[in-house]
């Protein structure tokens, strides 16, 4: 790659890194300056159909905690001690005015803490319309799609009220097309991770993906297209690293430094990091009834996570499939501290990996952790032992 190409990639990655690490949501504030009176909808993890607010001219933005960038003070007085960090830090952002640009906040009740947290938002932020989007847990039910279409229609009503105008089917179709493009580009990015992981580090890929939840998706598409165009020319040597799948990043996000520790010893060739942005695994049809298409895609054309029950997608088997399809040598099975669904799934995952004879390393993390020496030693020992076995 030419020096200018490398500089351009580096500049894009730096821009993404700033977005990821700045708790003041700079891209959102820029968008509001460019769109006076523009409304913003925030949504908590894991999945939210951003096409709905986008079709109304709102800016959807993902609320996914604050890592170690914010000292949690106010939220600690509102929420019990044994609740995960992402619930607290997201509330801290709201209570300290860092999310004052939001008109609507939506929480899918992904876990018991998240469902409770919405009530805390309602009590403490009376001027914000805080809604629960109830996504089906009986996902294989033949009735779930009709229910979900109507639930999306309800959320569309909330959005229409916020912006003061109706959402049209044509507007939704245009938004679906835009997000289809985004999901295609993300699939391409993950293809690079699987096939040529030395061209893009785990931290680089992650910041590129995460930035999508923090900026207008039109801009994200431009940025992804540019990076994907430049990557094949990148000069990077393939290294002798084990190929791993990282599991455990569906909700609370591991610190960038933790991913850096892993990437020093391993290629992360697939993962569930921010799986909500990649939840829909194929294109959503742009003909027909748009909300029905989005509902069907959520149920029938989607990935998996600890917070959705679907007998068609047994999670341990889905993990084994992810490992197989990415030709990974091993798995890193992580879970955030105090994460009930993640920690419970972890045991089933470990059993399935043991039964399949797949080496794995179990890690626990917290978004705000800052010391990684112990983890570095564990990861290096794990990787070296496997390299020794493979030799």
């Amino acid at each position: 790659m030419s020096g200018s190409g490398e500089r351009e990639v580096a500049a894009i990655l730096e821009e993404c890194r700033v977005l990821v690490e700045d708790p003041t949501y700079p891209a959102v504030r820029r968008w509001r300056e460019a769109h006076p009176g523009g409304k913003v909808l925030g949504h908590f993890q894991v999945y939210f159909p951003e096409e709905i607010p986008h079709a109304a001219g709102m800016l959807p933005v993902k609320i996914m905690g604050a890592g170690s960038t914010v000292q949690i003070r106010k939220a600690d007085a509102r929420i019990a001690a044994f609740v995960c960090s992402i619930i607290r830090s997201s509330l801290e952002l709201a209570l300290t005015g860092r999310l004052d640009f939001l008109s609507v906040f939506v929480t899918p009740p992904i876990c018991d803490a998240a469902r409770n947290a919405c009530a805390v938002w309602v009590r403490n932020l009376p001027s914000l319309n805080s809604q629960v989007l109830y996504l089906p847990q009986n996902a294989a039910s033949p009735h779930a799609a009709a229910y979900l279409r109507d639930e999306y229609r309800r959320i569309a009503g909330v959005v229409e009220e916020a912006v003061g105008r109706p959402i049209t089917d044509d507007g939704l179709r245009r938004s679906i097309a835009l997000y289809n493009e985004n999901r295609r580009l993300l699939r391409d990015l993950y293809r690079v991770k699987r096939e040529t992981p030395w061209l893009l580090s785990a931290v680089e890929a992650y910041t590129l993906v995460r930035a999508g939840g923090l900026m207008p998706r039109e801009e994200h598409n431009v940025l992804l297209r540019r990076v994907l165009g430049l990557l094949p020319e990148r000069e990077a040597k393939r290294q002798d690293k084990i190929r791993v799948v990282f599991e455990g990043g569906y909700c609370e996000q591991p610190p960038l430094d933790m991913l850096a520790v892993i990437q020093d010893a391993c290629y992360i060739v697939d993962d569930d990091l921010l799986i909500g942005l990649r939840w829909l695994t194929g294109d959503v049809p742009t003909d027909g009834e748009p909300l029905a298409s989005l509902a069907r895609a959520y149920l029938d054309g989607s990935s998996y996570s600890p917070v959705q029950h679907d007998p068609r997608k047994p999670k341990p088997e889905m993990l084994l499939r992810r490992i197989r399809e990415s030709h990974a040598d091993a798995a890193i099975v992580a879970a955030p501290k105090m994460c009930e669904p993640g920690l419970e799934d972890q045991v089933n995952h470990i059993r399935a990996l043991e039964a399949a004879g797949i080496p794995h390393l179990v890690l626990e993390f917290e978004e705000k952790m800052t010391v990684f020496e112990q983890m570095r030693m564990e990861v290096e020992t794990f990787a070296e032992s496997l390299l020794f076995d493979f030799a």
């Binding site: 009530a119 009590r123 039910s141 229910y147 639930e151 917070v307 799934d345 972890q346």
Partner: protein, 427 residues
């Protein structure tokens, strides 16, 4: 004129008999290899399962019983040794430990699950059910009960959104009926469902009357001692004539207690419990308040885990399945919003109606469903309604999380503050 025989003692005797009978039925089902359904207390669907003669295991109850029997630690440790984190629900771990120990419980042996029904009333129900799914390969039916939706979504849900939810719940119930028919080989008999629902209507009326009797001063029963028994029977015997009879008997006994001037103790402070108690220290938890004359006259637990029996609960027996769907949905709305997530209004109203002096908010590490927002609700009620509240933390079943001296200090200080308020108000 005949004098009615006082019924004092019948709650204790009859509840003991019913609990022992439940264990005998489970042991018999295990011995005979009869299909057993595993259900949870919030949305157990006991009335529907009775129409198929399916025995039920309530794992929340078997887990809490390990703690009451002082045996939970061995089960928790067995689960932790097999990989479960110290940071997850203790009920789940006590149950996993039970299965790892060949299903041998201090009260008997539980049968394997042939069917699991889990509602979304607690998300952990679903991941817990998936553990049995992995262990036994049994079918797991997750019943979605979409409920409270946030801003401006009070307990009085209505409109198109509620109609959508109701259609979905009813359709799922029809699927569950088909699944039960397949599993048991028994054709669904709507009259049997209707019969069980009629029993639930009677049980709900008596349950609600029992709770209301505790508005009397002094309180005729403790919401955390006998309250637990009431919750257990209401779940295990939902839809049965024996369950209905129990609550009629309970109502009579409590009326007798009032008539005879019997309170639970020398009542000085009337308290409300937000959350659950600690089963690993059930007696001690109560004693710490009772030594100061503090009696729990009500609890949120008796509402959200007490069969969903809100005031006015009544199935329409002319259209059983539709009514079951509607009532389950509305119970979920009430269960989530009123006493649990968005509890401030219900708590404030209960403080007024039950003449409560203060609220104990008990957060348990095991249960984020009941505990996550408790500090916030406490603060809300303190600052907006001048209702005193104590926030303490321990666990449901894990004795390692019970810190006696620390809890005693907090409770003593809280009671002193109530005394101070009373003295100030009396000046």
């Amino acid at each position: 004129m005949t004098t009615k025989t006082p019924t004092i003692g019948s709650i204790r005797n009859e509840s003991r008999r019913l609990l022992e009978q439940w264990w005998r039925e489970m042991a018999a089902a295990d011995h005979a290899g009869r299909p057993t359904a595993y259900v949870f207390v919030m949305g157990s669907l006991g009335e529907l399962l009775r129409a198929f003669d399916l025995p039920v295991n309530c794992p929340e109850i078997t887990s809490l019983q390990t703690a009451v029997r002082g045996a939970s630690l061995q089960y928790l440790q067995a689960a932790e040794d097999s990989g479960y984190s110290p940071d997850i629900c203790g009920y789940v771990k006590a149950d996993v430990g039970l299965h790892l120990k060949d299903r041998q419980h201090p009260n008997g042996r539980i049968p394997k699950p042939a069917l699991v029904i889990a509602t979304n009333m607690c998300n952990t129900y679903v991941t817990w059910a998936e553990i049995w799914e992995q262990m036994y390969g049994c079918p797991v039916f997750v019943l979605d009960l979409p409920a409270w939706r946030g801003t401006r979504a009070g307990a009085g849900a209505d409109g198109e959104a509620l109609r959508n939810d109701r259609r979905y719940v009813e359709a799922q119930l029809r699927d569950l009926i088909a699944l039960c028919e397949d599993l048991t080989g028994t054709a669904f008999d709507i009259d049997r469902l209707r019969e069980a629902m009629a029993q639930v209507n009677r049980m709900a009326a008596s349950y609600h009357a029992v709770l209301a009797l505790n508005q009397h001063r002094p309180a005729p029963f403790s919401a955390i001692r006998e309250g637990i028994t009431f919750q257990g029977i209401s779940n295990l015997y939902r839809g049965s004539p024996e369950g209905t009879r129990f609550f009629e008997l309970a109502r009579e006994e409590i009326q007798d207690r009032i008539r005879l001037g019997m309170g639970t103790l020398e009542e000085k402070y009337r308290l409300l419990l937000a959350g659950t108690t600690c089963y690993a220290a059930l007696k001690r938890f109560a004693e710490m308040f009772e030594q100061w004359g503090g009696v729990f006259v009500h609890s949120t637990y008796m509402v959200f885990a007490g069969g969903g029996f809100a005031p006015g609960f009544a199935y329409d027996l002319a259209r059983p399945i539709e009514s079951l769907a509607e009532t389950l949905l509305l119970s979920a709305w009430r269960g989530w919003s009123m006493p649990m997530f968005y509890a401030q209004d219900w708590l404030a109203e209960t403080v007024r109606e039950w003449s409560v002096d203060g609220i104990c908010f008990h957060g348990v590490k095991s249960c984020r469903t009941t505990s996550t927002g408790l500090p916030d609700v406490r603060e809300w009620l303190r600052t907006r309604c001048d209702i005193p509240g104590l926030f303490i933390q321990s666990d449901l079943v894990d004795p390692r999380l019970w810190s006696d001296a620390q809890l005693k200090n907090r409770i003593d200080a809280f009671i002193e503050s109530l005394a101070g308020r009373r003295a100030t108000a009396g000046r």
